[in-house]
């Protein structure tokens, strides 16, 4: 395998609603900042890959205008996944592995504030049997949380504690949307949104974009003093049908974590993209994290959730802590689909 590292990362602040800027206007400064951070221009990227969703944008081919932000001239080698940018990063990493590219630009963007997100997400479900019932995304997650609580997998207190931790960590993150000092007791006193989920159990709705530059071997060393090397990158998808999988654990995360070698050494830092507190706990367990790991120093997805960019941002947040020397080894996680259906695990190391 070729050595590949994350050497650049920029993001827009997560906000509940970008009232003025359209998606491309959110994305352009992110990519401009990335060019400045890395000293690279569009011509330096051998491959470009992006992640976005037409249904979030409410129009077909929404990703096409993303090319405007890149400055795709002369024509670029480019691809797009209808997935979180973390999977775009996977595709770019594959292209570098096969020797097609040495340097790649990856970005993800979404502006879910334009529509009714929980309702839009219902369109992910089986269109024949489930979707006609229009179960919104929070209710679906609520069913899973109820299963977890009633089968003793976790307690409401654990869920609230996850929110307290993430919101507290997010205080030091200027890009976070939900932050501050809270107590478990305080959060448990909140009314239910979709029993057993409270608002504090749910990731916010966020508009935003993020971008990453990957580079191979010596190119990475030249571009950054302490590159964040990708030592494991795996993703696994489960069946969608809720009746055929164990909703009290994240098996796909477990498999991806094993294949990515998460447990081969200590993990200093973990950045998780789970959009609900109970899911964050399931992911933490699936990754086998212990007390020694600092979880979600940025606040994670619960503090800022720009769909289609949020998973990619976790990789960036993790990499940034390796660049700074704050961590030697970290793991980043991205998810897609209802009830943690599909998960990606990325292990990053400073050495």
């Amino acid at each position: 395998m070729r050595e590949v590292a994350v050497i650049g990362f920029t993001q827009s602040p997560s906000v509940r609603r970008e009232p003025d800027r359209n998606e491309i206007e959110i994305l352009i400064p992110v990519i401009q900042a990335l060019r400045e951070q890395t000293g690279l221009s569009s011509k330096d990227f051998d491959f470009i890959c992006s992640g976005s969703s037409d249904y979030l944008a409410g129009q077909s081919f929404a990703f096409v205008s993303g090319l405007d932000a890149v400055g795709a001239w002369p024509p670029v080698c480019e691809s797009h996944v209808e997935m979180d940018g973390a999977w775009a990063l996977y595709e770019a990493w594959v292209k570098i592995q096969m020797g097609y590219a040495d340097t790649a630009l990856v970005y993800g963007f979404g502006k879910p504030s334009m529509g009714d997100l929980p309702l839009t997400m219902a369109l992910q479900l089986d269109p024949y049997m489930v979707m006609p019932l229009w179960p919104d995304a929070i209710s679906i997650a609520g069913l899973q949380a109820r299963h977890c609580i009633d089968s003793g997998v976790l307690r409401p207190e654990d869920m609230a504690a996850a929110a307290v931790r993430d919101r507290g960590n997010a205080k030091s993150n200027p890009n976070a949307q939900v932050k501050g000092d809270f107590s478990v007791k305080q959060l448990l006193a909140e009314p239910f949104l979709a029993n057993p989920l409270r608002k504090s159990d749910c990731a916010p709705i966020s508009d935003g974009a993020s971008a990453i530059v990957l580079a191979a071997g010596d190119r990475a060393r030249k571009l950054r003093d302490r590159p964040a090397w990708i030592r494991g990158l795996e993703h696994i998808c489960e069946p969608m049908d809720f009746g055929v999988r164990d909703l009290g654990r994240s098996r796909s995360t477990e498999i991806a974590a094993r294949k990515a070698g998460v447990s081969n050494d200590k993990i200093d830092v973990a950045e998780l993209s789970a959009p609900f507190t109970h899911q964050e706990i399931l992911v933490e367990r699936a990754l086998g994290l212990t007390q020694k790991t600092k979880v979600n120093p940025s606040g994670g997805a619960l503090a800022g959730n720009p769909l289609m960019a949020v998973g990619l941002s976790r990789i960036g947040e993790c990499a940034a802590r390796i660049w700074s020397g704050e961590a030697d080894r970290g793991v980043a996680h991205a998810t897609s689909g209802p009830c943690l259906q599909q998960n990606l695990v990325c292990v990053l190391e400073g050495n």
Binding site: D54, S60, C77, V81, E82, M83, Q124, I236
Partner: protein, 385 residues
């Protein structure tokens, strides 16, 4: 550095206006099962599943790969969903190939599909955003002015498009999977069909189809051991450019020229017209055959129409194009690019039945999309490169 990779199994559904007998999972599974059977593999032999389709709004399912993955044996495997506009079928093939070429997987399944009967593609492509005048009527409305630009520039005779349409529709009669089977097709029939988006006539356009196409790809060490014929992937290439910028040549975009140049370079081809035995090109409106003959550097600028006129691109010509009947005969949009790639592979495997070009050893598969701005292509061969 890349691992040599081969197509070892191909499966397609019958292409039809409405496949009411199958659901979306049924449709993709039909193609995938045929590809597995062709490859002599079972679901368990597949390391990863790569799914491609055009915009989600076509079928009204957001990220439909999530609910389709199970029907494709993708449970607890890596799964990736590609979407690069009309070129997506081709890009899906390229992304799937790269999963093996990178050494990450040994054998992958790629599937691309569209079930247009479950939605309304023209609607999905023409949603009017506020503040702006809706002046473009679907894909035909977008491409017709470009076709006119090509005619003006090249001086091509006005009936070039008709000739392409007749030829592709005749080829479709050789392909039982093709959607449109017009047994009495003739020049007059196309010429007399209604003008839809002047200069594009009804029979010069593609149909709206349901269908899926699947391929199994494998690394060299496995594929070499096979007794059956495989298609070796000699080169793949992708290029994109923005939709609108000052001075953009929309008729002959720089992206297609750059794509072609780099593809041939990788495949070690210097004279594509002589070294390739046939090509399956993405031609949703008949005029795009001569345009992409130029865009793929198979002939000189403004000379593409002569290949059509002289019969070079006919089934028995010196450079057969769209032996399967092409997009003009079957168009499950998201799959259309992969079908082109699959036809190229069928040709070099010598498994194209009635539309087999005798002795085809190297073939080009091609797809494009967006406003003529996304290009994905590959060259496959019967021999290792």
């Amino acid at each position: 550095m890349a691992v040599l990779t081969a197509v070892v199994g191909i499966g397609q559904t019958k292409y039809e206006a409405k496949r009411l007998d199958v659901s979306m999972p049924g449709l993709v599974r039909e193609a995938a099962e045929r590809a597995l059977a062709d490859a002599g593999c079972s679901w368990r032999d597949i390391d990863a599943v790569i799914i491609g389709k055009a915009p989600d709004l076509f079928e009204g399912v957001m990220m439909p790969e999530l609910f389709l993955n199970d029907a494709l044996g993708g449970a607890y495997k890596p799964m990736l969903r590609v979407h690069t506009a009309g070129s997506v079928g081709g890009s899906t093939g390229i992304v799937a190939a790269s999963m093996v070429q990178s050494g990450i997987h040994d054998r992958v399944l790629c599937v691309a599909y569209e079930k247009q009967s479950e939605s309304n593609a023209t609607w999905a492509l023409s949603i009017s955003l506020p503040f702006s005048l809706a002046a473009v009527a679907g894909a035909g409305g977008y491409f017709a002015p470009l076709v006119r630009g090509y005619i003006r520039r090249s001086g091509a005779p006005e009936d070039t498009g008709i000739r392409v349409a007749v030829k592709d529709r005749q080829n479709a009669l050789r392909n039982p999977l093709a959607h449109l089977q017009l047994k009495d097709i003739s020049f007059e029939m196309v010429a007399n069909s209604p003008m839809l988006w002047d200069p594009i006539r009804y029979l010069e356009t593609c149909p709206s189809s349901d269908g899926a196409c699947a391929m199994v790809m494998e690394k060299e060490s496995l594929a070499s051991r096979r007794s059956g014929k495989v298609a070796w992937i000699h080169a793949t290439e992708m290029r994109s450019e923005p939709t609108m910028f000052s001075g953009r040549d929309q008729v002959m975009p720089q992206a297609t020229l750059d794509n072609a140049k780099n593809l041939y370079k990788k495949a070690g081809i210097t004279k594509p017209r002589e070294e390739l035995d046939c090509a399956e090109i993405y031609v949703p409106f008949s005029w795009f055959e001569p345009m992409w003959m130029e865009g793929m550097l198979i002939t000189e600028p403004n000379q593409g129409w002569k290949m059509t006129y002289e019969g070079a691109t006919a089934f028995d010509g010196d450079f057969p194009v769209n032996m399967s009947g092409g997009v003009l005969s079957s168009n499950p949009i998201g799959a259309s690019g992969l079908i082109r790639f699959a036809e190229a592979a069928r040709q070099v495997r010598g498994m194209a039945d009635q539309h087999q070009v005798d002795g085809a050893k190297k073939a080009l598969g091609h797809a494009y999309g967006g406003g003529s701005q996304y290009f994905s292509t590959w060259i496959v061969g019967s021999q290792k490169p």
